[in-house]
Amino acid sequence: MTLNLVLSEDQEMLRDAARNFCQKHTPIKQLRQLRDSRDATGFDRESWRQMVELGWTGMAIPEAYGGYEFGYGGLGVVLQETGRTLTCSPLIASVLLAATAINKMGNESQKAELLPKLVSGELLATLALDETPFHRPTQIATTAVLDNGRYRLNGHKTFVLDAHVADLLIVIARTSGNDIETPGVSAFLVDANTKGVTITRTSMVDSRNCGNVQLDNVVLSADSVLGEPGQAFPLLDQVLDIGRIGLAAEMLGSIEEAFKHTVEYLNQRQQFGVLIGSFQGLQHRAAVMYSEIELCKSAVVAALAALDDPKQTATQIAMLASLAKAKLSDVFFLVSNEAIQMHGGIGMTDEFDIGFFIKRARVAQQMLGDATFHRDRFATLQGF
């Protein structure tokens, strides 16, 4: 069964609109300003309101819950454009990850209550999963102990996107089993203001928003469990795969933009009386990057198409997710390094934008699993 690897007309229109919006309203300059002013929110609320208006928050949410059912292909197209300008917004945390988790794992009343609020932007949510500096979704040490019909949570979460502005945390914790088993892992809906929840904003190298979450005897009612207790897996894995594919789409936009700037510079900077782009030592490397980026585009478009194709199995999607995240991580690494090198001294200056891309690259590479993690997973999925 072949996947559709070209954008539909609707998707193309969406892409063009998103591109216009980002260039106009959320250029890299905005990220720079947020960084330099040490903005307390870390993203621009007005831009976010406009994104909501454009329908970006409801792309992949069913109409029954206030969404637009435009599919992940649509959301992916938008993320690719926000990636181009390194746009700072809660799209990944609140929409791609949290709304997806609620949509996939939640019961009817949870979905009916929360999804419309996430689509309208009035509620910001995030996923609190990682516990160590490494993405190991099955190794959960945070505990949730059932006691008199209430859960008591203890643990520490790190690398939680937009934690400092989130109203709602989806906390992954263990209700039973040992640290490395998937049975016993549960997902909880935790109001960020609950007693015992301490959120520390962390200042990241890419100037995007993250935080650490400390859970000390956080008491939750039994209906805070998202889905079935102890059975967050395998659905959580599917949620993460959607996150990985969406993130790969965002990375693709950033890669394309960094590459575009670099090729432009090769066509502009003169040394030895000629354009530096005339040196074969640089030409060949640019041509290699072009080829790698072509593969990235295919990986992303295929993975997004698979998400919208009901005939694709979870395993097929998982393979495409790991393929895309591994490939895009490697190519972002390559392109961000080459971009600096080919710009020479000016590439090292903060005044010039290219540095933002290498900073974003390393964060995106590690987020939701680095290339090594996904190659290992891919091999396992392929049965070797």
């Binding site: 962390t202 200042s203 600096i340 001294g345 200056t349």
Partner: protein, 412 residues
């Protein structure tokens, strides 16, 4: 006992007695001694250590005693280095005067120039910066256009430099200027020295992606420099400029040595090696549990060792006083690639703790890794880019033809 053995014994005894205890601990960034008129010593032992070493000329061990140097033979200098390493002694003085300017002054300067400029370098009294690159002249350095006009017994200098490291902290600059605009570009360049406090010199710091601002734009507006400050022959500065670059490249290549690692400063034991960091962040005690990372680190350590051996071999092979040659480009290329690899591996080793910028949630040494990782990206740009080094290797070492007939045009 051989005379070298006697030298070793005496050196060891002297170091035991004279190297302060705090100078035998890993260097920390803020305590690196750059010297200069405005030098400050955060740790008073640094000052004592500098004075003691400078008095023997051991900040510049092989330079002639006549000019304040140590006057050691190559073999003695190697022994001194080994003995310093044995006690983990910090470098008493780090400076562009030692690594770049001094060697070419000794080769091309007059007796008067050496007597004037060398001793303050040895003693760390004058801090130098390098005025080579210009906005339009980076890899094509010889196209530089900062102009020096002779008027009576002075040169009047106008133009600007860029990426001048520590120009705002330096006392003097060694500078490439154009003294003849009519001849082919390599034939109209001169090498001149002047005080950064001279009227008409100004600097403007530039921020790096790592957040620090170590380098500057440097402007010259009718700067009046005595003609006697010109080194070598007028219009023959390119020869000196290239020679200095070989010394610079050899110095930069040492970033690739594991010793460069312990000089990084501010790191505790877990970050001192990549494998140490990888194990600490995974809670491993024996074997590193991540087999992929283990393989990558082993590959890095093997290359790093082989590179260290190559650096040593190149020192041993070079005849005394001959200094570096075109192999400096190979060392520069390889050393810088190794240093960049080291930091990428460190990022992988400590995971998302390597992604912080400042403040809560990260240890200082983690934040230092992030910043130094960003700074390491400049290694293959500063001192001539990696592409320029590869061009030199292809052309000068391998004798390959130059397709664009650019012979002599690159920074070779």
């Amino acid at each position: 006992m051989s005379s070298l053995q006697i030298f070793r014994d005496n050196t060891r005894a002297w170091l035991e007695e004279n190297c302060p205890a705090s100078m035998r601990t890993p260097m920390v960034q803020e305590e690196i001694v750059w010297g200069g008129r405005h030098a400050t010593f955060k740790n008073p032992d640094s000052k004592i250590w500098l004075e003691r070493m400078a008095e023997r000329g051991w900040t510049c061990p092989t330079w002639p005693q006549e000019y304040g140097g140590g006057g050691l033979s190559k073999d003695e200098a190697i022994i001194l280095q080994q003995e310093l390493q044995r006690i983990d002694a910090r470098p008493a003085l780090t400076s562009f005067g030692i690594s770049m300017l001094g060697p070419v002054l000794l080769e091309y300067g007059t007796h008067e120039q050496k007597a004037r400029y060398i001793p303050p370098i040895v003693r760390g009294e004058i801090r130098w910066c390098q005025g080579y690159s210009e906005p339009g002249s980076g890899s094509d350095l010889a196209s530089l256009s900062t102009k020096a006009e002779l008027q009576g017994d002075h040169y009047i200098i106008n133009g600007s430099k860029v990426w001048t490291s520590y120009a705002d902290k330096a006392d003097w600059i060694f500078c490439l200027v154009r003294t003849d605009f009519e001849v082919p570009k390599h034939s109209g360049i001169s090498f001149i020295l002047f005080d950064m406090e001279t009227e008409g010199v100004s600097t403007k710091p530039i921020s790096l992606i790592s957040g620090a601002s170590p380098f500057c734009e440097t402007f010259f507006d009718d700067v009046k420099v005595p003609a006697e400050n010109l080194i070598g022959q007028v219009n023959d500065g390119w020869t000196i400029a290239k020679r200095l670059l070989q010394h610079e490249r050899t110095m930069i290549s040492s970033f690739g040595l594991s010793k460069g690692q312990s000089d990084r400063g501010g790191t505790t034991s877990s970050m001192a090696t990549v494998e140490g960091a990888a194990k600490a962040y995974r809670g491993d005690t024996g074997t590193l549990s991540d087999p992929v990372l283990r393989d990558q680190i082993a590959q890095f350590n093997i290359d790093s060792e082989a590179f260290a051996l190559t650096s040593q071999r190149s020192v041993q092979e070079s005849k005394h006083g001959q200094g570096p040659n075109a192999t400096s480009s190979m060392l520069k290329y390889y050393g810088c690639e190794l240093n960049k690899r080291r930091y990428e591996l460190l990022l992988q080793s400590i995971g998302s703790q390597s992604l912080g910028w400042e403040g809560d949630g990260f240890a200082n040494e983690e934040l230092l890794v992030t910043r130094e990782w960003l700074r390491s990206k400049a290694n293959s740009i500063e001192g001539g880019t990696l592409e320029v080094q590869l061009n030199i290797i292809a052309k000068r070492v391998l004798g390959l033809p130059d397709m664009l007939s650019m012979a002599n045009k690159t920074r070779s």
